[in-house]
């Protein structure tokens, strides 16, 4: 028995040689059918490898079916693939066959070793696939799992490849194999390092850095310089990525703070319930999305578009009511306003919690906002990009409204000189209410944007209120441009500090720096000048 077991592999080798000989004349599929008919796992495994090397177009579906346990073989060496519904197709011709033709078919046996062989074979087969995307994926999979055994196949693939992009990937995969193989000559190593250095990402760095300790001084030196170069480009790209994240965070802050810049900066009202206006906007988005889904499921992707004006109206109306019922009695008493609006924020939070429940509500990203694209070494996600665009659009809209419309003119007149404005016939009380409602409405719009990147929960507003106040104070109260610069610089500073110090510590550092900054310049980055400031 022992002897037999030792002899068996030898026998299979002989058999395989025989098959390889026959492969030239007969069909690879026929050989495979013969091999799969065997009851020995080792035999089946060898057949899988042989099939992979053949490069036959029918090989991939056969291996796939084998992996899924759907490959059937008859005693007279015919291969069938059984579909999920029980029908049979011929493995070679892909024609449906009558069930009785495959009556005596039995499934080909598979164990874990065979499955591993299948996975490896699939990787190799797709290297030669006519589909470019599959070839690219195969090249990447070889790159990430550099196995010297695949070198011959890779070489033939490189020789056949016509697409220059895929060819580069294949060469990189080849370089990865060469570098991770201890038997490679120094000259090959140098060439491989050059190829990988050009790739210049984290994976390439990891592969090259292993050669830094090479016994060959030329290889070690080349590896060291290559790693340095990669580190430099990587840090540049990650810096750029941080700036992008920072801009994205900054535009979120801008959206959250711009309404505050109007109520706090322009009117001098400390609205601690501002965050709750943002939250109301986010919940409005949720409700609008659900309504659209219910009544017009086809348009679900565009439910954000009506949500923007509706959120503006909802938050704006709530703001208007707050101003009429509470804040107008507290003008000139900022500390009291602060306390009253804080109480209001508690009430609003609890009200939302009572209506919608304490758990997060799900607002889905529409398809045009999900996904991402690469720009060089940057990964730009669409939702962040849209929010940046949206924030700037809102900012521009507010500037236009304040500088170009009668309402904006009246707002500025009232805040600059209330009595004079009143004497000129402006209804100052109405302007106050409208300004406050407008600021709150902008907060609602911010909520629509935040619902796309944050959890919609009753606490949504709280997480932004302190940051928003910081932005307004940092930028200089009463100055919209200051808010813009403040929001973006705080966002970028946060994200640049994050990789260095960690997310929480980075935030703390920014807060502490801000507190120190306010000590130095109590009126912010862009203080207003003139007598009116000292009121």
């Amino acid at each position: 028995m022992q002897l037999l077991r030792k002899l068996l592999p030898l026998a299979f080798c002989l058999l395989l040689c025989g098959q390889a000989w026959r492969a030239a004349s007969a069909d690879a599929i026929d050989d495979a059918a013969a091999g799969f008919g065997s009851s020995s796992y080792a035999d089946i495994e060898q057949t899988v490898a042989a099939l992979a090397v053949s490069g036959d177009p029918a090989a991939a579906p056969i291996l796939q079916a084998l992996g899924d346990g759907q490959l059937m073989v008859t005693d007279d060496h015919h291969l069938f693939i059984q579909a999920d519904d029980g029908s049979f197709t011929d493995a070679r011709t892909h024609q449906k066959v009558a069930t009785d033709a495959a009556a005596d078919a039995r499934p080909v046996k598979v164990n874990n070793k065979v499955r591993r062989a299948i996975a490896a074979a699939m990787g190799q087969l797709t290297l030669l696939s006519p589909d470019a995307a599959q070839r690219r994926a195969a090249a990447d999979s070889v790159f990430h799992d550099p196995n010297p055994a695949r070198l011959p196949l890779l070489d033939s693939a490189i020789a056949k490849e016509s697409d220059s992009g895929i060819k580069r990937r294949l060469e990189q995969a080849r370089a990865a194999i060469l570098l991770s193989d201890t038997a490679t000559s120094p000259a090959d190593r140098l060439a491989a390092i050059a190829v990988l250095a050009e790739r210049g990402d984290q994976d390439a760095r990891a592969l090259i850095s292993a050669s830094m300790t090479s016994s060959d001084p030329a290889v070690a030196a080349a590896a060291t310089t290559a790693v340095k170069r990669i580190d430099l480009t990587l840090s540049l790209w990650s810096g750029a990525q941080s700036v992008y994240y920072g801009l994205s965070l900054g535009s979120v802050l801008l959206l959250a703070a711009i309404g505050l810049a109007i109520t706090f900066g322009v009117m001098g009202v400390i609205n601690m319930a501002h965050g709750e206006m943002v939250m109301l906007g986010a919940y409005t988005t949720f409700v609008v999305q659900d309504l659209v889904r219910l009544y017009a499921p086809d348009l679900a992707d565009y439910s954000l578009l009506p949500a923007v004006p509706i959120a503006f109206l909802v938050s704006g109306l709530v703001g208007l009511v707050i101003e009429r019922s509470i804040i107008r009695f507290l003008y000139g008493r900022p500390l009291e306003t602060l306390l009253a609006t804080f109480g209001l924020s508690l009430v609003l939070q609890q009200a939302i919690r009572t209506i919608f429940g304490a758990s997060n509500r799900e607002v889905t990203n529409p398809s045009w906002m999900s996904g991402s694209f690469d720009l060089g070494g940057l990964v730009l996600t669409y939702n962040r990009l849209w929010i940046i665009v949206f924030a700037f659009a809102v900012f521009a809209g507010i500037l236009l409204l304040l500088s170009r419309t009668p309402l904006g003119l009246q707002m500025r007149a009232v805040t600059q000189n209330r009595r004079m404005a009143a004497s000129m016939g402006i209804r100052t009380e109405w302007v106050d209410s409208l300004t406050f409602g407008f600021g709150s409405g902008i907060a609602g719009i911010a909520g629509v944007a935040l619902s796309q990147i944050d959890n919609v929960s009753p606490n949504l507003g709280q997480s932004y209120i302190i940051d928003s106040f910081m932005v307004v104070v940092f930028g200089g109260v009463g100055n919209l441009w200051g808010t813009l610069v403040g929001a973006l610089s705080l966002g970028v500073a946060n994200k640049i500090l994050e990789p260095v110090a960690g997310a929480v510590l980075g935030k703390i550092v920014v807060l502490v720096l801000l507190v120190l900054f306010i000590q130095r310049r109590p009126r912010g980055l862009f203080p207003l000048k003139g007598r009116a400031v000292e009121s």
């Binding site: 001098g268 003008y331 000139g332 500390l335 602060l338 500088s403 302190i466 510590l505 703390i508 507190v515």
Partner: protein, 394 residues
């Protein structure tokens, strides 16, 4: 020196409240020590609850001192309270010794859990009670000094100060949530065993702690009372009402503000230190900005600028909170929020000032009736709104 002030004070009405508090504390404490079968027995829970109220009252007193008398609305006093609490918590952690879950005599449980091998340097000395007591005052005091020195020197005041004090406590909260700060991270410090050798689970210790809180509250009340009646206190009120004018009269406003701010922070620190053993835990959520604002509302409810008011407000609101959260938990935030709004709108001087407010309203009404004045004041007030704050770049 303190005695001299006390001797100088006219009237005995101000002593009624501390006397009442002490009497209540003694009564509750004494009743809790009765055997459980006695009909007048008070449970340890009630004792701890009352002790908690007293600590909150001390915190409210410290907020009132800076807000009511110096016009500094600090939305970060919870930070000083929590720092004092952490100082006490660290001492209590060290007292656990080898009785922790891991039985490590050198390190608190959470450090063992984090695989630390040495005690961080800032934990040194917390085995000694005296050192811990010094830290309860020193840490909040130093933070208040550094913060106040920078803020008052550059004349940050009003809402700006409120907002950056809020940012301060927010930053501290984030910091203490981190595990590698060495203060137990998210879970904070808990599982305390004993304080000065007394078992923290026993009724006697509860009663003792509650009594200590009452005594400390009375002592600080009397100190504050002496402070505001002194020359120093008069200057403080002047700073509150007309800061620039006081400065022009030659007073170094920032020094007065800094002194009272630091003193108030130390007070809050002691309040936190007594709070921790009574509730049995200190964690970073004590730093939450909302807690600090809640302390401000206690003062507003009781009566800003009245020491008695602050104490009454703290006890009243927290009692209401206990009742509400027990009976209708979902309504508490409505009630608290409503309280904020109603008190600021209708009770600018709090419950304590309610009587005076009603009387003056009545007197106003009488004069108006006689002189026939009805309108005109309302619009004057609107002029106080900060003006000229809009700049639109074109």
């Amino acid at each position: 020196m303190i005695l001299r002030y006390i001797q100088r004070l006219p009237g005995k009405a101000d002593y009624i409240l501390p006397a009442l508090l002490l009497a209540a504390a003694l009564l509750i404490g004494g009743l809790s020590l009765l055997p459980e079968t006695a009909s007048l027995h008070v449970s340890g829970y009630v004792v701890s609850l009352f002790g908690k109220y007293l600590c909150y009252a001390l915190l409210a007193l410290s907020v009132d001192l800076v807000w009511g008398y110096a016009g500094i609305l600090s939305l970060g006093h919870g930070a000083f309270f929590a720092l004092g609490g952490y100082a006490m918590g660290m001492y209590l952690m060290r007292q656990i010794g080898a009785r922790g879950v891991y039985g490590n005599a050198l390190l608190p449980d959470f450090m063992v859990f984090l695989n630390w091998h040495d005690l961080p340097w800032y934990w040194y000395g917390f085995d000694h009670f005296i050192f811990a007591v010094v830290m309860m005052a020193l840490v909040p005091g130093l933070l208040a000094f550094a913060f106040g020195y920078l803020a008052f020197r550059s004349r940050v005041s009003g809402v700006y100060l409120s907002i950056i004090t809020q940012a301060l406590t927010y930053a501290l909260m984030l910091a203490f949530f981190r595990n590698d700060m060495g203060f137990g991270g998210n879970n904070g410090l808990t599982d305390f065993k004993d304080l000065l050798g007394a078992n923290l689970q026993s009724d006697g210790t509860h009663a003792g702690l509650m009594l200590a809180s009452a005594i400390l509250l009375c002592v600080f009340y009397l100190l504050c009372r002496a402070l505001i009646r002194s020359r120093f206190g008069k200057v403080l009120v002047a700073v509150r009402d007309a800061e620039s004018r006081t400065r022009f009269l030659g007073y170094r406003v920032e020094r007065y503000k800094l002194t009272v701010f630091v003193f108030s922070a130390v007070m809050a620190g002691f309040a936190g230190a007594l709070y921790v053993p009574q509730v049995g835990i200190i964690n970073p959520s004590e730093f939450a900005p909302a807690n600090s604002i809640e302390a401000v509302i206690w003062v507003a409810v009781g009566g800003r600028g009245s020491l008695v008011g602050a104490i009454i407000g703290a006890i009243l609101v927290n009692f209401a909170k206990t009742v509400f959260t027990g009976a209708f938990p979902e309504l508490w935030l409505f009630a608290l929020g409503g309280l904020f709004v109603l008190v600021t709108l209708f009770l600018p001087r709090g419950f304590v000032g309610l009587w005076a407010q009603l009387r003056s309203r009545w007197a106003d009404h009488q004069t108006k009736k006689r002189e026939g004045i009805s309108k005109g004041d309302a619009s004057e007030r609107r002029g106080e709104m900060p003006e000229g704050k809009l700049e639109v770049g074109e």
